[in-house]
């Protein structure tokens, strides 16, 4: 058969093909021709479009809104699960080429696919909830652990300070400065001063309560003037303590003193000296 004759024959069969009405052999021959004939392919597409108009001649049968909503919701849920699952797309059977797909297998596969999608959603929800509860438990245990760890850190740090204090106080090199009051009410203090470790621990007694916004500040008195040390607040019994390290050369510490200053202390004393002790003693 010449190409022209074939073309003529195919033209006669294109409408039947547009309606999916060609039988086996003739259909195969047509497709073989279509592969090499753009004109016939365009004509077939145009006839298919015309055939699809027949769909609009189907009498309008409305779907009950509730049923339609259910189908719609199910489709969207499946689609959402499909997106999340990232499944590969089904192999495509181009709709115009679709002939008969074996029904039984399609019917068997359609429902399980849907059920599988539904089940996977449920399983995902179930696992999600379980994972969430596990995460909650782990998070709570982590918080407890962190809290215990902080407590332990604080205790270790406190213990280390106490040991340092004891070490600073217990050495044979420790010197003691006794502070006497400048006033009648007899506040007093004692400075345990370790010139080797260059640490001090200061205790005060019978101190009057400070006014709001004020604290007592310890000073190391040197020839160049007072060097600021930490502030402290006495308890209700008038006792207080403060400890620290110092950079001042030992021989320059001539005396220690306590003044009342704004809370947090100042670099230079502004208040009156409450108690003072001479290091030279």
């Amino acid at each position: 058969m010449s190409l022209d004759t074939e073309h003529e024959n195919v033209q006669a069969a294109l409408a039947a093909e547009a309606l999916d009405a060609l039988d086996g052999e003739e259909r195969e021959a047509l497709h073989a021709h279509l592969a090499g004939c753009a004109e016939c392919r365009a004509e077939l597409e145009s006839l298919r479009e015309a055939a699809s108009l027949l769909a609009h001649t189907a009498p309008h049968v409305p779907l009950a809104p509730a049923r339609s909503d259910r189908i719609r919701a199910r489709l969207l849920a499946r689609a959402a699960a499909d997106v999340r699952g990232g499944e590969a797309a089904e192999p495509v059977v181009a709709a115009p080429e679709t002939r008969v797909i074996p029904i039984a297998s399609r019917r068997r596969s359609a429902l399980p696919a849907w059920l599988a999608a539904a089940a996977s959603v449920l399983i995902a929800i179930g696992l999600g909830a379980y994972a969430l509860s596990l995460r909650g438990r782990v998070s709570s245990l982590e918080q407890q652990t962190a809290s215990l760890s902080r407590d332990r850190g604080r205790l270790e740090s406190t213990l280390a300070e106490r040991e340092a204090t004891l070490a600073a106080l217990a050495g044979p090199e420790v010197r003691v400065i006794t502070l006497a009051s400048t006033q009648e009410r007899a506040p007093s203090g004692r400075m345990f001063w370790n010139p080797v470790r260059r640490r001090y621990t200061f205790f005060a007694y019978n101190l009057p309560q400070v006014r709001p916004g004020r604290e007592y500040q310890l000073w190391l008195i040197t020839p160049a003037g007072p060097v600021a040390a930490p502030t402290f607040r006495p308890g209700r019994d008038g006792a207080g303590s403060v400890e620290g390290a110092y950079d001042v050369p030992n021989e320059q510490i001539r005396a220690v003193a306590v003044t009342e200053e704004p809370a947090g202390g100042l670099p230079k004393p502004t208040g009156e000296v409450l108690i003072v002790g001479n290091a030279a003693e």
């Binding site: 039947a16 769909a55 189907a58 489709l75």
Partner: protein, 204 residues
């Protein structure tokens, strides 16, 4: 050859919402909301086609769902052709419905003769006012074109389209030569195609 090189547009008349092609592209990108919009727009037509082909209402609903699911899964391979999305969707639903009929071994035989004439308005009610009105108008024009076909041509294309009969099955059923069936099908589709152009020119 024939004056049909214009694309038939099935966009809603008021141009509301994204067009069908945009919706299919969004579906391909994994946007299930686009599937919902496409469903809202075309499920009345697709359900009607399914009901025309399958006997059982529940089957028709399953076919409708299968068709939209297939559209979702194949959206990435959809190529915008002359017929547009509605042609694509109606081909899918027709194919699924005929599959269902073959699975059941049963056509919509019992009520075949009682199906109302297209566009006669029996039992019709717009699902959503705008889209339905626009689709009603299209259906009316298409029904008019189909009604103008000689009865034997119309019977031939309907047997093929709604009952899935092959040309040789149609020839046997009608007692006509195969060549006659071919010719009737060709004349019928060519006339529908021409009416499509008239519809386009009249409708703007």
């Amino acid at each position: 050859m024939h004056p049909t090189q214009r694309t038939v547009s099935y966009l809603p008349a008021d141009d509301s919402g994204p067009d069908d092609g945009a919706l299919v592209r969004r579906m391909a990108a994994g946007d299930e909301k686009a599937l919902g919009l496409l469903y809202d727009r075309w499920s009345p037509l697709l359900h009607s086609v399914a009901r025309r082909i399958v006997a059982d209402p529940n089957d028709a609903e399953e076919v409708l769902e299968e068709a939209f699911w297939q559209a979702w899964r194949q959206a990435g391979r959809y190529e915008e052709g002359r017929g547009g999305v509605s042609t694509w969707l109606t081909m899918i639903v027709r194919s699924r419905a005929l599959d269902r009929v073959r699975a059941r071994g049963r056509l919509r035989e019992e009520s075949w003769e009682n199906i109302p004439e297209p566009g006669s308005g029996d039992g019709e009610g717009p699902a959503s006012p705008d889209a339905a009105a626009e689709q009603d108008e299209r259906r009316r024009l298409i029904a008019a074109a189909v009604a103008q076909l000689p009865p034997e041509q119309r019977e031939t294309v309907e047997l093929a389209y709604f009952r899935g009969l092959s040309q040789s099955e149609i020839a046997a059923k009608l007692g006509q030569p195969l060549g006659t069936v071919k010719t009737r099908a060709r004349l019928a589709l060519q006339k529908l195609r021409e009416s499509l152009v008239v519809f386009r020119e009249e409708g703007g």
